[in-house]
Symmetry: C2
Amino acid sequence: MPSAEQIRQTVHRYLEAVEKGATDDIANLYADDATVEDPVGGEVHIGRQAIHGFYANIAGANCSAEMVTLRALGHEAAFFWNLTVKFGDAGGMRIEIISVMTFDEDARIASMKAYWSQDDVTQL
Amino acid sequence: MPSAEQIRQTVHRYLEAVEKGATDDIANLYADDATVEDPVGGEVHIGRQAIHGFYANIAGANCSAEMVTLRALGHEAAFFWNLTVKFGDAGGMRIEIISVMTFDEDARIASMKAYWSQDDVTQL
């Protein structure tokens, strides 16, 4: 089982890669056969290639991420965080997200589920 | 699939029943074959009878629950909340918890996972 410290490191790397819109870096944090459901209730993206394609949505975007609270337990993490996306001079939006991840033996992300809806989006 | 409103109602009933330490009411919110992992990484309690036994820990306790933020999506809910437990005149403690639940067709809780550790406990 990965240590809590390894899990925390992967989560923080994930937020850093999301901030940069670095889709290759994000995809490399995932296990080969990982799954992504973002938001929960929507399509499940299976495998690193599909996951890479999903994150193409934020490639090069001007994002910032703020961790509110993080728990690393067993082979899982749950965290509450804010993602702010800026649209050049055209404002932006902040999404308040509860994310749950599971991890493999190498502390790569085996699954990610993001709990948010339009109710959790604030236009800036 | 249960509606988001039905899921929200079950979650709020759960917090109310926890506040009262009403273990019968809590257990009745769960499906027959439900599972509880609280905290995540610990023992998994399977079935309503085992779940009832687990909640005996808080039977008659003086608790209060505060919802910070709740998401109901698909057949799931994720919420960040605080549970405060008072020990008579001997102080108490507040636990900051991220909980994830899944629900059956009748909006009964099919699984509950609570993400918290000693790091999320404040002595009062």
